[in-house]
Symmetry: C2
Subunit: 159 residues, 2 copies
């Protein structure tokens, strides 16, 4: 069988925002103090993992759209769940705004994300999404170990 | 901007097998007894999560290729890491064998995976991959809590 095109850039944005929607509900599920302080096995707190997701989201989409990569940095630190959710929601809107400005030919282009990681722009987006799924799964363990039921993994606005 | 096709069925197989390669190395990182017995917060052992991945992999690819879905069931239980890795390697070969038999038009078709979950065949594959990333991330927490360094998340044969 010849290979078939199976995913469009619109599909990919929907997939990403679907996962981001689940991550938002995971942030909400944490008690305020545990969000910033709790971890297992010397790992980062869930808030620190969320800073990483935010550091990839708008800066990553901007780099893909423009070819201009800012130096890698996590999102700024905040001190309350409300502030973290506000950063999240702002990134959601920004991602929706930036995405349609990405030239179609950019997805297959090879670039160096944040001046450090070579690959196609499509591979960068999958890395951002997969990294978020991976670390959000770790957040689910934090919640379970605290006796808190996480949101359902399958319940998201995805593909 | 008009939407752009950004991913082919060949890319998707490569992406999936890249993640499966990382999962294999995660299985290898577990001490034998911990693989089958250890968990946090009342969750399943990593071996039990791996049965779930295996239950989605070849049965899922077969359903997509043929439209024939077997009833949902996890993979059979085994008792050693060696046996689990052998199941894994067999699934790797089977997935590579089945994938090229999937008719190109199947990816966009709507079906009901395992007679239970409606969606496009492409969405099923992403669900299988994302579920594996999610639970493998949990396995990473198990390893960290045991003082064991997991394999590097970024180190895989992916896109």
């Amino acid at each position: 069988m010849a290979t078939t095109q199976i995913l469009s850039s619109d599909d990919l944005l929907k997939h990403w925002q679907g996962h981001r929607n689940l991550t938002r509900r995971t942030i909400e599920a944490f008690p305020e103090d545990k969000l910033f302080k709790y971890s297992i096995g010397g790992m980062r707190s869930f808030a620190e993992l969320v800073y990483e997701f935010l550091g990839m989201c708008v800066p990553g989409a901007t780099g893909i759209a423009t070819g201009q990569w800012t130096a890698w940095a996590d999102a700024k630190e905040v001190h309350t769940k409300k502030e973290l959710l506000a950063l999240w929601d702002h990134a959601t809107e920004e991602l929706n705004r930036i995405w349609p400005t990405i030239p179609g030919n950019r997805f297959a282009e090879v670039d160096t994300a944040f001046g450090q990681w070579p690959g196609t722009c499509t591979s960068f987006v999958f890395y951002f999404i997969d990294n978020e799924i991976h670390h959000r799964g770790q957040g689910f363990v934090y919640l379970r170990s605290l006796g808190i039921e996480p949101p359902a993994f399958w319940d998201r606005q995805g593909l």
